[in-house]
């Protein structure tokens, strides 16, 4: 997805739109130069531009799929890191686990943004999006699983009773050896 951004992303400074198909000269502020007919040019280039467009669409969808699969590598990486961290609670394992939880969440939040450059009428982004979401959910699940193995999820009874104050007793008794 980094590559896609580089080419077509928001980073560009200026652009010339070669595919202006409008025929009405009134749509422009500046009148066309004399001897220039818009229609003939359009007609001449239409086949070429369609071809171009198809190629671009293809390229876009290909890129979208690539972007969608990117979290998989992340997943593997995360898995390795988690295995490294072990199952005892300490600074390192907690850090890794929380980053494993945070990354999918932030990626899911920005799912629209990630696929924005590949938005096209002809490109079906649903598939890549679903894959992207699924992979990130997988990452999230991995993080939660890790959290559980660390014992940081309140899934046991002990997590809910550990600060229960002792029950009051109805009866009260005192005494001892006579003074």
């Amino acid at each position: 997805m980094e590559k896609g951004k580089g080419v077509m992303g928001a980073g560009r400074r200026w652009a010339v739109d070669f595919s202006d198909n409008s025929t009405a000269p009134s749509s422009r502020d500046i009148p066309d130069p004399p001897g220039f007919t818009r229609a003939s040019v359009d007609q001449d280039d239409s086949a070429v531009s369609r071809q171009k467009k198809d190629a671009e669409a293809n390229w876009k969808s290909q890129k979208a799929w690539e972007v969608a699969q990117a979290p998989f590598k992340n997943l593997l990486m995360m898995g390795f890191m988690m295995w490294m961290a072990g199952s005892t609670v300490h600074l390192f394992s907690i850090g890794i686990t929380f980053s494993a939880l945070w990354q999918p969440i932030s990626a899911l939040q920005g799912v629209g943004k990630v696929f924005e450059p590949y938005k096209d009428n002809k490109v079906d982004l649903l598939g890549p999006k679903l894959l992207f979401i699924a992979l990130n959910l997988g990452g999230l699940a991995l993080g939660v699983w890790k959290l559980n193995t660390l014992g940081l999820l309140p899934t046991h009874a002990s997590d809910w009773v550990s600060s229960l104050s002792p029950a009051q007793e109805v009866e009260y008794s005192g005494g001892g050896i006579p003074l």
Binding site: V161, V170, Y172, S173, G174, I177, P178
Partner: protein, 980 residues
């Protein structure tokens, strides 16, 4: 894998370096702890004579202490604290070859031994010593003649060898006096056989030869003691106490001379009592409150020289020059005491007459000792050491109190604490540190110290500044709750308030209700309770304590109550009760003025409610059916449970008096079990949680009950000293008893074990210490009790939604299903007291505080006394903090709370929670007092005193500066990039 294990190792190392270090650094001693040394009530004092050039006095006390005090300051020069079985009967200084005081003390019965060490000679034998004679000489050796236990011993000063001995025990003689006429080698031993036969023995002091033995009968009989008036004359009272007998045994002939007291004083005041004194020709008698000083003229003629209503004390004779004896007479008159020093043969003139203003809270003069010194103009000056009613010791010289010692604090009976007043108007910085300049200077020094620029002088200055921090002895409440008042009740019936910051006495008050009076002949102070603890009205009401005492040692002696304001030390009111006090039960209810309700049980098993207000009664009647009490009759081996029944009927009908009925009783077989220890949980202990999470996320529910009683019984044969029974005939049984229902929840027998048992009960566990005869070692056992009926609460959703009944009030009549876990460990020391740390919320882990036989306090982590310790704990158990099983408990030298100090004669350890959860205040008392703060899991909720604030500040400033600089740099760089 290698990386992972490396990582784990690294992390383990990192965490192990954070483990609690409980020891102190050398420069931390005295920052939060203080230690005070006392002696106890002085029984006898002997001055070093000026010939020896030492300005000291040697004293022996009722706390079995022998000490030498500096006469200029009253500081302890040396001190020996003997055991509670080693009662000191008398001391004297023998001059010549041995300059040491002689101490007579009970040693092993009839075993003759003498030891010379550390300036103390010890002689064995049993009972009260009557006399020590020290000024005899045989050739170059000085001999000391000691009378004790019906036996006269002559001991050499060189090596302590017994030169001769004479036994009077076999002759059924009750020896009254041993008299040595000055300048002769004769000793007279006088005494009574039966009640009417007077006997006299004359003995050669050098070889123990019996020179004469005479006896004479007197039909009237004898009463009490005899007082020697001349070297061959004594004075006694007849059996009615109305006739004075002058008994003379000159030249071996015994003659009686009777003088009725009514001949001497016109109005008789009933039977008299002789006050013995060693002054030649003078003695005193006391009739009720009247003291009469009588001079003996010409062997038999008696003459009253003084009759007074004031309390009078007479010192022993002090020979000041050849044939001249001086003695002191101290009389007490309201705010003053009058000291007179007279010559024995010249009553009319005073060598010295002084009046000294005396604090009322010291009570009456009990004893006086005098000493002389030679002034610069070659005349005699006198100094008097006086022992007051509150057991304090004062030195008077030239009409002034030179120094005073509050030695009553050596015999503390009970301790409670009180909060200090709330700070009203903010005390300004200048007020705390005297002035701003000082304050700035102090901080500059501290900064120098942190930046390691301080010179050795500066370091010393910083250290003394830390120790004298005026913050810690301020008289207001602090945020962390470290500053409190320790209210202590001493055996003399005096209340002291000690400041926890530095241990100074804030106020002291001699309780009138615990003083001898006509209605109360032998008052005894018993206990201290918190009476009023204002929380809501903390600004305008003072807390107060309740002092409970009784008249006389018998169980039906009437009680006495006193209410004392803890801020001012004034008695608010006092009550002389008509009923006795057998038990005091502080109830967990308060009235609208925040007075705590107390239930006093008398010897007839009636319950009396205090305070006697209608409001208290209505509160009490609401909870009436839920209040129970139990009594432990350790002589009969019976524990009885009682419930309240209704208002008293019969002659003691009273609004606040309630009848009780017996509910249950546990009778221990008297031939096999004897109760030797009972322990309950501390009333004010706070438990944070009822659940204990063990390995693998399992939960165990603690059985937490205020109504549990730990009882230890031993076999009758095993209740004697260690070493006198075989393991087969001795056993120890530990019980856990529910005091409401009388149900025995747990019972365990330790075969081959015996007492003494010391125990401590906290939360759901009890730890007790006893002797194992089979292993020949001391052992400590732990019993933890868990509630099995709650163990089914495992449904997480019910717990999440709060649909459980774990916190709902329970009745003890619902049948509990408990399991116990126990374990025993060897422990090296024998123990004097055990306590446990307590914190405000009960979250911090606990430490046991063990008063060892060496009079130190050892902190032992409760984790060492975990019944779940195994030889090879699993990983999960290790994570839980379970230590691998060992057969004995470790004693880590750094964990002595008292570090290098000793709390001589340690009797009790009290822990009080501070407001800061991590910290607990510890007060240990015996002959000495010791106070410190403890943090069993280190101070995790506050920065330590030596935290470097300056460094933190500098770091923050440096970081901020760095951020600012890098930000501007990056801005500039970005701008340049853009222009490129």
């Amino acid at each position: 894998m290698a990386i992972r294990s490396f990582l784990i190792l690294f992390i383990l190392f990192f965490f192990s370096s954070l483990n609690p270090i409980l020891s102190l650094y050398e420069d931390q001693v005295g920052l939060v702890d203080w230690h005070q040394q006392y002696l106890g009530k002085v029984k006898q004092a002997v001055f070093h004579t000026h010939k020896t050039g030492r300005k000291r006095v040697v004293v022996s006390t009722e706390e079995n202490v022998v000490a030498s005090l500096d006469l200029r300051q009253g500081e302890i020069f040396w001190r020996h604290v003997l055991g509670s079985n080693d009662v000191i009967d008398g001391i004297d200084i023998a001059l010549g070859k041995c300059h040491y005081p002689f101490i007579r003390r009970k040693y092993f019965e009839s075993m003759e031994s003498s030891r010379w060490a550390d300036g103390v000679g010890i002689f064995s034998s049993g009972s009260k010593a009557l006399k020590i004679i020290t000024n005899l000489k045989i050739e170059k050796d000085n001999i000391v003649i000691i009378f004790s236990n019906g036996r006269l011993n002559a001991v050499s000063c060189i090596d302590g060898e017994v030169l001769w001995e004479k036994d009077f025990e076999g002759e059924s003689l009750k020896v009254q006096q041993v008299i040595q006429p000055p300048g002769s080698n004769l000793i007279y031993v006088v005494g009574f056989v039966s009640s009417s036969l007077f006997e006299m023995y004359q003995i050669n002091a050098l070889n123990g030869e019996l020179l004469k033995h005479e006896s004479a009968a007197f039909s009237g009989g004898f009463l009490g003691e005899v007082s020697p008036v001349f070297s061959e004359t004594v004075v006694a009272l007849d059996s009615t106490g109305l006739i004075l007998l002058t008994i003379s045994f000159q030249n071996g002939k015994i003659s009686f001379h009777q003088t009725p007291i009514s001949n001497l004083v016109k109005d008789s005041f009933g039977p008299a009592k002789i006050i013995t004194s060693s002054v030649t020709g003078i003695f005193a008698i006391k009739m009720n409150a009247v003291t009469i000083v009588i001079r003996v003229k010409d062997e038999s003629k008696l003459e009253v020289v003084e009759k007074t209503n004031h309390e009078t004390s007479i010192s022993d004779a002090l020979s000041i020059s050849e044939g001249q004896q001086a003695f002191a007479l101290v009389q007490h008159a309201s705010h003053e005491i009058h000291l007179r020093v007279k010559l024995a043969h010249n009553w009319d003139d005073n060598l010295l007459k002084e009046s000294v203003k005396m604090d009322q809270h010291r009570g009456l003069v009990h004893k006086v000792y005098i000493n002389n010194y030679i002034r610069t103009d070659k005349s005699y000056g006198f100094r008097a050491l006086i022992v007051m009613e509150d057991h304090s010791l004062l030195l008077l010289q030239q009409g002034e109190i030179v120094w005073s010692r509050e030695d009553g604090l050596a015999s503390i009976i009970d301790v409670t604490t009180s909060e200090l007043p709330v700070e009203r108007d903010g005390v300004s910085v200048a007020k705390v540190e005297h002035n701003l300049f000082e304050w700035l200077k102090g901080h500059m020094l501290k900064l120098k110290g942190t930046l390691m620029l301080a010179s050795p002088q500066d370091v010393a200055a910083i250290q003394s500044m830390r120790l004298k921090n005026s913050e810690k002895s301020k008289m207001t409440r602090d945020h962390n709750g470290f500053r409190k008042l320790l209210i202590v009740l001493t055996r003399a019936g005096k209340l002291f308030a000690l400041h926890t910051g530095d241990g100074h006495i804030v106020w002291s008050y001699l309780l009138q209700s615990l003083q001898k009076s006509k209605v109360c002949q032998h008052p005894i102070g018993l206990n201290l309770y918190k009476w009023q603890v204002p929380h809501h009205h903390a600004m305008d009401e003072n807390p107060s304590v309740l002092v409970i005492g009784k008249c006389g040692p018998s169980s039906d002696a009437p009680g006495a109550l006193s209410f004392v304001d803890t801020y001012t030390g004034k008695e608010l009111s006092s009550l002389s009760l008509v009923h006795s006090v057998a038990q005091v039960i502080p109830l967990p209810y308060t009235d609208s003025t925040e007075q705590c309700l107390h239930l006093l049980i008398d010897a007839d098993k009636h319950a009396h409610l205090y305070p006697k207000t209608p409001e208290a009664i209505s509160t009490f009647e609401r909870e009436f059916s839920n209040i129970y009490w139990y009594s432990v009759e350790d002589d009969n081996g019976i524990i009885k449970g009682h419930a309240l029944r209704g208002k008293c009927t019969g002659e003691v009908a009273d609004e606040v008096c309630f009848d009780t009925r017996e509910l249950w009783s546990i009778v221990f077989p008297s031939e096999s079990e004897k109760i030797i220890a009972i322990v309950t949980r501390k009333l004010n202990e706070v438990v944070h949680t009822q659940a204990k999470v063990i390995a693998d996320q399992e939960v165990m529910y603690k059985y937490i009950s205020r109504n549990l009683l730990f009882v230890a019984t031993v076999a009758l044969k095993g209740s004697v000293e260690i070493g006198s029974v075989t393991p087969e005939e001795s056993w120890l049984v530990a019980y856990l008893i529910d005091t409401v229902t009388g149900r025995i929840l747990h019972r365990v027998t330790h075969h081959g074990s015996q007492g003494p048992v010391h125990a401590v009960f906290s939360e759901n566990w009890v730890v007790y210490h006893y002797f194992n005869l089979k292993a020949h070692r001391y052992e400590m056992s732990v019993i933890e009790i868990y509630d099995q009926s709650r163990a089914d609460n495992k449904d997480v959703w019910k717990l999440v939604l709060g649909k459980h009944n774990l916190t709902s009030p329970i009745s003890l009549y619902s049948r509990p299903d408990v399991i116990t876990k126990s374990q025993s460990y060897f422990f090296t020391h024998s123990v004097k007291a055990i306590a446990v740390t307590s914190t405000t919320k009960g979250i911090t882990s606990k430490q046991l505080l063990i008063g060892t036989i060496g009079d130190q306090v050892l902190a032992l982590d409760k984790r060492f006394l975990d019944p779940r310790r195994t030889v090879n704990p699993t990983q999960a158990e290790k994570e839980e903090g379970i230590i691998p099983l060992t057969d004995s408990l470790p004693i880590i030298p750094q964990s002595y709370v008292t570090h290098a100090l000793r709390v001589e004669g340690l009797r009790g350890i009290i822990t009080v929670p501070a407001k800061l959860e991590s910290t607990t205040l510890v007060f240990a008392h015996g002959v000495d007092l010791f106070f410190t703060q403890l943090a069993p899991s280190r101070t995790y909720d506050s920065l330590t005193d030596d935290f470097n604030y300056a460094l933190l500040l500098i770091t923050i400033v440096a970081l901020l500066a760095a951020i600012f600089v890098t930000w501007t740099l990056s801005e500039r760089k970005e701008l340049q990039e853009n222009w490129r």
